[in-house]
């Protein structure tokens, strides 16, 4: 199973500055392993962020993004106590969801 993400949200007024670290190999499909065989394509394809169950951000991601990537975005209209949930899904169908309750000054 996929490893947990690390989510940070800093509230400034009603704008939450969200930064997410994701654990993922992000294989480009171009790299060869020690035996000289191509390592199959394995990358995060979609990212969805929901604030209290409502989708506020989606992204389509390509294999050009690095291993263990960082994504940062801002969410307007967030307040203390809101539940932020982030999901990624990769090209193999593997997915991972992590949640964060937005705290004051967190």
């Amino acid at each position: 199973m996929a490893d947990p993400m690390k989510i940070r949200a800093t509230l400034q007024g009603d704008v939450a500055d969200v930064r997410v670290l994701m654990a993922h190999p992000m294989e480009t499909g171009q790299r060869k392993d020690a035996a000289g065989k191509l390592v199959p394509l394995h990358f995060i394809q979609t990212i969805t962020a929901q604030l209290n169950g409502k989708t506020v951000f989606t992204a389509d991601v390509s294999q050009a993004v690095s291993r263990n990537p960082v994504f940062a975005f801002k969410v307007k209209g967030a307040k203390v106590g809101d539940k932020l949930s982030i999901t990624w899904q990769d090209n193999t169908g593997d997915k991972r969801t992590d949640e964060l309750v937005i705290r004051a000054g967190s």
Binding site: K6, L21, P69, V70, F73
Partner: protein, 266 residues
């Protein structure tokens, strides 16, 4: 749609042309500071915490009874106070050696299986590496205080010092060849002098570290192993007394400096 800013963990090619050493160092520091804000090392910290708390191994036990020197299960501040003497094994151990010891005694793993492939690769991060990252993170912001009270702690320091200055191998090298004098550098990389307290901190600061080259998490055990390799020395034993002694020498030299937690390396 909200404004989206997508940052990869970029490996920035530093085309820094060194005029004088100082501006280059300042640029490197700035670069590190930016990278530290979103350090993938935190992913290994989370993973390590899970491994610490989950019952695993042949004995199906967690590591929560592991004594890192401050009592069974005490993780807070323990990393900054290693290497130290442990009475139960009657020797000085560094943090990773101690974690390996706990994995053997509490969880029933064997030294042989843990030492078989102890270093991170693109496809695998060994469990002790994630665990030591978690443990190290619990000393973030604390001062290094590797003790020198027990006679064996002082002996480990002296042994470490001797190893540090021991010249051998095909290149007639010692650790001190690169790290025993001021103002040495390899390409644009300035080399700290670990015999001086204010520079010795750079031996232990930022480790365990996430290396952007390859995107893997490495611990000090790996770093020292690589020093041996660069010196064309025989490979040191994983989690061995030799490496604990060497780590005692550099950590004690760095005592009193604040540890910033697991770092990020170019």
């Amino acid at each position: 749609m909200k404004r989206a800013l997508v940052l990869g963990t970029l490996a920035v090619a530093c085309a820094a042309v060194a005029q004088t050493p100082d501006p280059t160092a300042a640029e490197f520091d700035k670069f590190r500071e930016i990278m530290e804000q979103d350090n993938p090392a935190e992913l290994f910290e989370v993973k390590g915490e899970e491994l610490w708390k989950t019952p695993r191994g042949p004995k199906n036990a967690s590591l929560e009874k592991c004594d890192l020197g401050l009592g069974p299960g005490v993780v807070k501040g323990a990393y900054a106070q290693t290497p130290r003497y442990f009475a139960d094994v009657d020797r000085v151990m560094d943090a990773e050696a101690r974690i390996v010891h706990c994995m053997i005694t509490l969880q029933g793993f064997t030294q042989a299986e843990l030492a078989k492939a102890p270093f991170s690769s693109l496809v695998r991060t060994p469990e002790p590496v994630s665990i030591v990252t978690y443990v190290a993170a619990q000393s973030r912001g604390m001062k290094f205080a590797s003790p020198q009270n027990h006679v064996k702690e002082r002996a480990a320091y002296e042994t470490g010092k001797a190893i540090f200055h021991y010249r051998a191998g095909a290149f007639d090298f010692s650790c001190a060849s690169c790290h025993g004098v001021d103002d040495k550098r390899i390409r644009t990389q300035p080399l700290p002098n670990f015999t001086k307290p204010e520079q010795a901190i750079r031996a232990v600061q930022g480790w365990p570290g996430y290396r952007m080259t390859g995107g893997v998490m490495h611990s000090l055990q790996w770093r020292l192993n690589d020093c041996y390799r660069q010196q064309r020395f025989p490979e040191p034993g994983y989690a061995s007394e030799t490496l604990s002694a060497l780590l005692t020498y550099v950590t004690v030299n760095a005592n009193g400096h604040v540890y910033r937690g697991p770092g990020i390396k170019r």
